[in-house]
Symmetry: C2
Subunit: 106 residues, 2 copies
């Protein structure tokens, strides 16, 4: 496992759906960069025993956690605690990148 | 526990030493923003049962993990796995901010 990585170099997008790019994985957590073209969505879902943090690197993110939805700019972060439904949409017009940390891996 | 936060609004610096500002804490992880004035350091240390990720938000970070040291720019990330000594210095001339995720909390 490498100890250093360039997030920009791992930021690949896909035209058909949002793309998850792994940066680090251990037994205790994983760290990904999620890349969304405008209009792409991560459908609502939940994890029974894992907490997730989203950090908006660039672009805009419409993030829903439970019943609470916000439009978040770069420099914002969201927590999706275990058991709460969460979803993400890129409302555009720019590309969206999220740094994502989940503990433990599901 | 709030589910949304503005990292910039939590980014406070201290003149005497680097400042840790908490964003989220759960039983499984914490997420902080660490703020370093030029020249400030987080001394080498390790955690026996927790993994840590550093993400460089802005500025430059000299990060050491085990015997490997790199100077990292914004958009880079480092993993300090459990048991490995890690340290951070801001070589300047700008302020340094790191998003820090640790799982589980020590």
């Amino acid at each position: 496992m490498a100890h250093f990585t360039d997030v920009d170099a791992h930021s690949t997008f896909a035209s058909d759906k949002m793309k998850k790019n792994n940066l680090f994985t251990t037994s205790r957590m994983f760290c990904d960069v999620y890349c969304f073209e405008p209009g792409q969505t991560q459908t609502g879902h939940s994890h029974s025993g894992s907490d997730k943090v989203y950090y908006v690197i660039d672009g805009q993110a419409q993030i829903r956690v439970g019943d609470d939805e916000r439009t978040m700019a770069a420099g914002s972060a969201a927590l999706a605690p275990a058991g709460l439904t969460h979803a993400v949409t890129n409302p555009g017009p720019q590309r969206l990148r999220l740094l994502v940390l989940m503990a433990p891996p599901p």
